[in-house]
Symmetry: C2
Amino acid sequence: MDLHIKTSEKDEYPRRKWARMINSLSGFKSANLIGTINKAGHANLCIVSSVVHIGARPPLMAFVLRPHASKSPRHTILNLKECPFFTINHIGHDFHEKAHQTSAKYSREVSEFEACDLLHEFKGDFKAPFVGESRLQIGLELKEIVDITLNNTHLVIGEILEFYLPQVALMEDGYIDIEALSTVCISGLDGYHSTDRISRLAYAEPDKATRKISVKGDILGR
Amino acid sequence: MDLHIKTSEKDEYPRRKWARMINSLSGFKSANLIGTINKAGHANLCIVSSVVHIGARPPLMAFVLRPHASKSPRHTILNLKECPFFTINHIGHDFHEKAHQTSAKYSREVSEFEACDLLHEFKGDFKAPFVGESRLQIGLELKEIVDITLNNTHLVIGEILEFYLPQVALMEDGYIDIEALSTVCISGLDGYHSTDRISRLAYAEPDKATRKISVKGDILGR
C-alpha cells in the first residue's frame, strides 16, 4: 500500500476532492432511478447509488437521501410525504447518460422525466411512475423514514409490492441475471461501468471447498 | 416486460428461491469484507454486500446486518460491542472465492481469516484487523447501530478514521479508480462480476448536455 490517508487531515483537501474520494470508498454501487409523484400528480425522478437490500420476508429495500433542509428541499422526500408510493428502476447501459442528467438541480415544477427525455410509465393502478426504458422496474410502498442524526441524512425504507422484468432474466432457482439486462453500476460520484460475470458461487459451508455454479445454479466442474 | 410479479404471491415460492429473487432486485452491490475483533483479541471476518456511503463530512459508511437473535448470534455485532472498531476491505477478483467462503456458518471460536486462508494484517495502532489481500482497506470507528424494527435488522454506521490504497488509483480530482484495483461487485446472493468502465460523466447541470469525462476528470470531445 502506497498511500495512508487519515481523515484527521480532511481540512487539507478541497471540498469536492474530499467528497469524490470518500464517495469512492464504498465499492461499486447500484444504479437506480427513484420515481415519485406529488398529490397534484407531478412526477419526480432522481438517480441514487445507495439502494440496499434490507430483507426478503417482508420484501424491503431502502436508499439513503441527503439532508432535507428547507434551503435545499429534497423533492423526493416532499413527494413521499404526499404520496407514499415510489418506484426503483434499474439503470441500463443504453440510457445511463439520461439517468445521470437527473442529478442536475432542476426546480420542483420541472419533471426530470421530461427534462432528461425519459419515458414515464404508469402501470395498472400503481400510483408512482415507472421509467419506461428500465428493464427491471419495482413498485414499493413507503414504510419508514429513519433519520440518521449523525449527519441528518435519511434512510427511506419501502416494501416491495410488485416488480416487472423480462422472463428470460429470471433463472429457475430465483437468481435474476441483471447483467443480461445491461444494468450498470457506479463508482464514486460519476463513474459508470458495465459488468462481466466471473461466476456464481454455491452456498458456502464450513469444511467444504468453494464451488462455482452456472448462471442457472448448476454446480460446475467435477 | 414479460413478467409481473406481485409480492402478495410470495407464499407460492420456495423460501430460498424467493430470497434469491428479492436479493437480486437492488442492482449490483458492493463486495466487502468486514473485519472485527473481540476483547480477547480473537478476529472475525464476514462478507457483506450492503456497504453504503452515508456522508463525506464527517466521513460515514454503513452496512446492514441481519437479525441478531440469541439462536443465531452475529459474531460481528458481538465483537463490535466489545471493541468498537472495524475494517472494510474491498474484495478483489483474485481472492473473491476465499471472500465468499467467509459466509459459511463457522462457530465463533473459528477465525474466518484462518479458515478461509486470508491474511489478517494489523497496521499501526488500529485495533481491528485488515485483510492483507485487499487493495483498498478502510479503518472505522463504530458510531451508531440503528435498529430497523420492520424486520429486526441493524444498520451499523461507522466513521472512517483512515484508509490505505495504491497511489496510482487516486486521481488528482479525488476519484478513486477502483476498477484498476480489480474490485468486484455482486449480484443477488452469489453472483460475482468484474467491471468495464463505460465513462465518467461531468457534474450535471440543468440546460447543459451530459458530458463524458476521462478517468482523470478531463472533459472529453469537443
